[in-house]
Amino acid sequence: MEKGLLALVLHAHLPFVRHPEYPEFLEEDWLYEAISETYVPLLTVFSNLVKEGARCRVTMTVTPTLAEMLGDQLLQDRYEKHLEKLIDLCEKEVERTKEYPQFQATAQMYFKHFTSVREIFVDRYKKNLLTAFKELQDAGALEIMTCGATHGFLPIILREEAKRAQIQVAKNNYVKHFGRKPRGIWLPECAYNPGDDRLLNEAGIRFFFVDSHSLIFGTPRPRYGIYAPIYTPAGVAAFARDIETSEQVWSSQIGYPGDPDYREFYRDLGYDGDYEYIKPYLHSDGERRNIGIKYYRITGKVDLDQKAPYNPEWATERAAMHAGNFLHNRQKQVEFLMPLLGRKPIIISPYDAELFGHWWFEGPQFLNFLIRKIHYDQNEVRMVTPVEYLEEFPDNQTQVPSASTWGAEGYNRVWINGNTDWMYRHQHIAEDRMIEMANAHPNADGIELRVLNQAARELLLAESSDWAFIITTGTMVQYAIKRFKDHIHRFTRLYEMIQQKKYDQEWLADIESRDNIFSEIDYRVYLSNQPV
């Protein structure tokens, strides 16, 4: 007998990184790695399930920045070249590892994997994976959500017009790519601020997600804890993250991805390979980097040079076992919760999509096994999407959720702290200026229209939460600072053009071609008095 529901939520996002001004660019690899390791494997899992007739219900963000990159011809062509090089290397690896039988099966696995990715990416979807996402949405297997236009961190955007722009631009971009309006949104960084729900309602959004303490600390007290959504005062449903399922996957201590049989991320052929052999597959600067071919398993708590060879069969078995364990825990969880709550609980399990495949190589296999087991092996837990849930359970409590994020400590510290605080003065002034320009020039055309639309793009790109996140985590800090400052600089120059009515057309054309996101943008989204 069915006792509860499970909503699996995957947030697929990458910042907009596209540098036509260089023949190759390191950070563009983020997209290429994600396509090879996460997006194509996930799409493959889901489409096979649909073909088989197994019930698959996954709620997934394809953020506007990611959608724009997946649909961009320059990046599509560059990815194809990147893939061809990898396949070439894999062919060599299959030959070379004949002398190393402990690595041969893994080498063959990579060759098969990357050639399969090429077949799917190039032959089946003509380099545009958005088609694949849309097909799965149309088949009912995916509920694709939108996000903030550029993953702007809403609690720190102070002007309502600028928050609205993040949401409305995202909505319009979703319509462009998926042919209908979005029904749900993944708020950037899962960051909710009371009052933002009005803007979601304006955009026709029916549901969003919050971290668990958002409902638990909400007003009034949530009758069902985190196991039923609430309606915000604006009438939008908020679903809360389940702590237990998050921990089973996210935790560095007890999470599945740390199993000794799984692939070790940090042993990569880009570093392990003989330099002259590997050099043609590195960037032109010749620096060793991860290239995505890894031959070792986690093994245990041993030094990197003590890792044991990866065994794909063992890893697959382990993924199946972990899927079984995950399902077993959900069965026990709903069995316990149903009598306590007096209502079927819904368990919300959100993860960053790129965790599956890129970081946790076996993650897509885990999902494949999990969804199959849910469909074939039991009837206590059913997968649903939020929209399906709301149609089945329309009667929910009304509450004001607490301000919250899914960042460390649950609030805004990851994005606003002593390393990032300098950014917001510039961002806020750019927001003020954009609103000022829109109100002063509501009927722009010609060159003025181009300048205003490009100013809107530059502001949106500066607002990406990714830059502050990268600075806080201390990874590619220089790049994040550069991106933020470049967009503020470009915005400021565009603002001055409007003020002085002097236009540098050559420079404008150049940045239009670089920051070409949101071809459909209309700067009037920043008007203070929006037309009804």
Binding site: Y22, P222, E247, N290, G410
Partner: protein
């Protein structure tokens, strides 16, 4: 957001293909991305020559504010008054706690920023203006309003009987949701269901000297040794050590950091729990690593001296995870 791991960051270089053997570990610097060396982006303005003041919420206990006043704004104002009075005007930042009308003034410069330690569940606004002994305070610019999250459960039960839940049942729902009772500063459950401001009540029950010390610490002032002596013993030792090693301002920051636990400690005593409960990892909201100061934040290393800082703060706080994401 979960950024893909950058390809360029890796602690080790292991040469030669596919052989399990020990190699020297070489730390790689963060690399430049664009050809031509480090590039931190195009220039952006240092100031914007406008009057502004903005406040941002970091968490229930911390606000960040920045401001900028044009010199011409200050000059225009002081010109209204006799010339000899001009030197008497001091630029000040005014904190307004909107619920209870509490206010505080800080001497500041014309352009600046400030990390402010505040209380959860409150509404704040700030102003920058000038003040003189003869003319009093004159506001020049006002901030947006900032609401700090309460950081704990609500006192309000739903009025709709379908969704109303009593304290006992709610405890079970909390536990089922992964929030064990000791992980939530459950003042409402202890102080009756639907009435009273738990934080205010608890704060008022602290000894007068402790209250004053906290109020001073909240302004970023350096607390003195004799003030620390009035605090509970277990906190006293720790703060004295920090004060000795790093100064009174850092001791203030540490005190603000531990404020939620001080309140919880008081609540625990009401329930008949021992003083040992004080250092359990049971904050009102997840722990906060940042203290208050005018421009700097508390060094993380300082917190290593505080015993329970590295423990998980709540069921959702994961130890040992390096990323910003939980």
């Amino acid at each position: 957001m979960f950024l893909l791991r950058p390809s360029s960051i890796r602690p080790a270089v292991l040469s030669k293909a596919l052989e399990n053997r020990s190699e020297e570990l070489i730390i790689q610097p963060t690399e430049t991305t664009a050809p031509g060396g480090p590039d931190f982006g195009a220039p952006i303005p240092d100031t914007y020559d406008i009057d502004l003041l903005r406040v941002l919420v970091q968490d229930p206990f911390h606000l960040y504010l920045y401001w900028e006043l044009r010199q011409s704004t200050i000059d225009a104002l002081t010109k209204v008054f006799p010339k000899e009075e001009a030197p008497e005007f001091q630029t000040v930042l005014r904190l307004l706690e909107l619920d209870e009308g509490y206010e505080s003034f800080f001497n500041v410069g014309r352009i600046g920023s400030y990390w402010m330690a505040v209380f959860p569940g409150k509404r704040y606004r700030f102003e920058v203006g000038v003040r003189s002994p003869r003319r009093g305070y004159i506001k020049l610019v006002s901030s947006n309003e900032a609401d700090t999250p309460r950081g704990t459960i609500a006192m309000e039960r739903d009025q709709d009987p379908r969704f109303a839940v009593d304290g006992r049942k709610f405890k079970r729902v909390l536990e089922a949701s992964g929030f064990h009772n000791q992980d939530v500063l459950n003042l409402a459950l202890m102080g009756g269901d639907d009435s009273g401001d738990g934080f205010r009540q608890m704060f008022s029950e602290l000894p007068q000297g402790v209250q004053k010390t906290i109020e001073r610490a909240a302004t970023g002032a350096a607390i003195e040794s004799n003030e620390i002596d009035q605090l509970p013993a277990i906190l006293r030792d720790m703060l004295q050590r920090i004060r000795d090693e790093a100064g009174g301002q850092y001791a203030s920051m540490a005190l603000m950091h531990y404020l939620p636990e001080l309140l919880r400690w008081l609540a625990s005593r009401r329930e008949g729990l021992g003083e040992d409960e004080f250092l359990k990892p049971v904050p009102a909201a997840p722990r906060f690593m940042i203290g208050s100061s005018d421009i700097t934040q508390m060094p993380v290393t300082l917190f290593e001296k505080i015993s329970s800082i590295n423990r998980p703060s709540s069921p959702t706080g994961k130890p040992g995870k390096p990323e910003g994401k939980r």
